[in-house]
Subunit: 441 residues, 2 copies
């Protein structure tokens, strides 16, 4: 887990601010949940591997010695949302659209853009099964990435039922769906022959292997064409499959609706996309950029999760952007505005004599009251040393307040870059500094 | 621990935004640290009671079964800062001024304004022993509270050494300083006779009891007068005490400097102020308002804490505002601007027919591209039901897009409050809605 020094925090706040502003435009409202959940709320929601990665908190007081845990750190923002929906159900609107930008914790092995404490930026819409929900989620996420300056991302789109239907149509029995997908997932790394070998190892029959490989190799970028191909594939299989065809129809609707949004041209049908989490029930999505092996974010429909807490199902669909990965890629691509690397202050007030500190602090207050960010040098060190300090901190101006200035109610403002200085009435200094700051952008 | 629904989050963001903006004007830079620290970093820093209240995290993997903890949740923002200073020392400036607004966790019994997860808003200045540091901290905190709308707070100011010197001068031996302060602290609750009784119970000799009580009863609001009284008291005692007199001088300097800042008129010398934490070494401060028994925040100088991590002392002084208590008082006093209770969206796009969803979603995108916050009703329910929904969510406008409008490229905008409607070109609708929103503030 990492400390964030001032420039890191500014970069994070910049990205979070843009994402939150875009989400608000889509009618999502902010929600925050505690870092700590009851352990039983989290257990069993993320699969076996997920259970292993949950940070567990010891019982307090006399029970501490038992070594048992009753609480845990938040593992994602989706399960807490489901708990919130169940708990606050009466207070929430029928269609609840919330965003949530908070850290989560996983006891995972750290890697590039993967940390044990990391922020997720989630949007979820509850209460409707309309394909407009998925389309709007894709639109919101695309809009946020575009505003951040990304221009080369795609949204991979698939459907859990389509995935299952294609595997079945290819001759893979249900118990082998999982192992087959693990093999398919390696296509980029080990090539078609490698995948055929892995499928064999995992017990997929020979006739099915080629069919699986062919089915999952996307033939192009156009979503409508790819959906036609998959639809034909399902229709031509021996297994009649209305559920698979319904999934194709659902993806057709989503892509058609998304074409009228900021997600236009970004969506690729990827029949091999599986997504790890077990709670998805319908469409699933994932964001890819060329220079990152993992995804920038992902999501999908999970119509049954809220029911595990509420006792009655509430349709739901969500999308999560990974803040840390966005920051990694933006850093590598130099996508941050230069203004974020700003100095700690607009001006530093120097101190000639500790007996004059009260004049210096009053001047600092005057400049602050006009909105400037002001450092007060705290000690009466040599003026050269003080100016050097301001320079080392990239503070552009130093306010000098010697005996003459104090007597006259003036201040001498030194421009460290231009190496010029001017004397102003103290009440006029803030305006002069603001003007000079504006000139240098 | 609590969930924060949209209006809660907006109130919290409002307060945090103001505090951060004020802190930035004082030259403090943002820092963030992980929620989780090594357990050994925290143990022994907060006294015995503090140790008990730390949430401890189980070791992972094969060590989990041992029931041992190696990590813990952040207990305050000061100890993590000291660790950061030691760890990132080479990267940080000689005078490091940071603010940090993050949650901390304590396994405490919840009460009014006291929660197990709560936010602190800290400012700390490292690297200088100048009294200007304390004065600027008081100024920054006062400025933040004034901007939030508080007008009746005072800053209680004391000094750890003065506290000790007065107790000694009153005839209380060092081992009884702690117990005597606990008794003094109850003066408001149990009155002078009650305190005298408690002092007796705690083993303070008869001659000392009256002296202690007299010494700690402030005689007025003027800091200079109160400091004169305390100085005379020290001078007249049998114990010569240069350290106590130095503390008085330090408080004289701090109050004189603060008089030229936004803290002017707010400071009260309170010789009985003790502050719980053990790491303070000099001046200590606490914010009080009439309608809250506890404090809105507090702080002080801690010149030795960084040394516990770095191996060499770095002078430091900090102030922490308690977000939850500020929110409680602001809520009770109705201090939040009405705009915070805003609806989820400026306009809702209704859907006449699911076949027309793509027109509705495209219109929503158009309105969003002009900065409006837009809800898209996801299903083709009856229009009356949709309008009722918008009304229930306090969304002021509904955009109606029937067959005629779609054919003509127009949209009918219904004003739910005025019960009027107008038809606009779709490209002109956003400007019309913005204008109408401006009119109603």
């Amino acid at each position: 887990m990492r400390d964030f020094l001032p420039e890191d925090v500014r970069r994070r706040a910049h990205v979070i601010g843009i994402i939150a502003r875009v989400y608000e435009r889509y009618g999502f409202e902010p929600l925050e949940t505690p870092a700590v959940e009851n352990l039983e709320t989290l257990l069993g929601k993320y699969g076996d591997e997920g259970n292993q990665l949950i940070f567990k908190i010891l019982k307090r007081g006399e029970h501490e010695a038992t070594g048992q845990a009753d609480l845990a750190l938040r593992y994602d923002l989706t399960v807490p949302l489901a708990r919130v929906i169940a708990h606050h159900n009466a207070k929430l609107p029928r269609f609840f659209k919330r965003y949530q930008i908070q850290p989560v914790w996983r006891a995972d092995r750290p890697a590039r853009g993967r940390f044990r404490e990391f922020y997720q930026c989630d949007v979820d819409a509850l209460g409707s099964t309309s394909p407009a929900v998925e389309a709007e989620l894709c639109a919101a996420v695309a809009d946020a990435l575009l505003e951040l300056g990304f221009s080369d991302f795609v949204i991979r789109l698939n459907h859990r039922q389509l995935l299952a239907s294609i595997l079945t149509a290819s001759g893979v029995p249900a118990p082998l769906h999982g192992p087959a997908l693990v093999a398919i997932d390696k296509l980029d790394k080990i090539g078609p022959d490698g995948v055929l070998g892995e499928l064999a190892e995992r017990g997929v029959e020979e006739a099915a292997r080629g069919a699986v490989l062919a089915a999952f190799r996307s033939t192009g970028h156009d979503p409508a064409e790819e959906l036609d191909r998959l639809s034909n594939l399902l229709a031509s299989s021996a297994v009649g499959d209305a559920a698979g065809e319904a999934a194709v129809t659902n993806l057709r609707q989503i892509t058609a609706l998304a074409a009228g949004t900021r997600a236009d041209g970004r969506i690729r049908i990827d029949a091999a996309l599986a997504r790890g989490l077990s709670y998805y029930t319908g469409a699933i999505m994932e964001i890819a950029v060329p220079d990152l092996a993992g995804s920038l974010g992902g999501g999908g429909r999970y119509d049954n999760l809220v029911g595990m807490f509420l006792g009655q199902d509430v349709p739901a669909c969500g999308f999560s952007l990974g803040l840390e990965r966005i920051l990694v890629v933006m850093g590598e691509r130099n996508m941050f505005p230069p203004a974020l690397a700003r100095s700690a202050a607009d001006v530093m007030v120097a101190v000639f004599d500790s007996a004059d500190l009260r004049h210096a602090i009053a001047l600092a207050g005057l400049l602050r009251s006009e909105g400037l960010r002001v450092l007060l040098y705290p000690d009466a060190d040599k003026i050269g040393k003080q100016i050097k300090y301001a320079d080392s901190r990239a503070v552009p101006f130093v306010a000098l307040l010697g005996g003459n200035e104090i007597a006259a109610g003036t201040v001498t403002v030194k421009d460290l870059k231009a190496q010029t200085q001017n004397t102003y009435d103290q009440t006029a200094a803030a305006a002069a500094i603001r003007e000079a700051l504006k000139d240098r952008g």
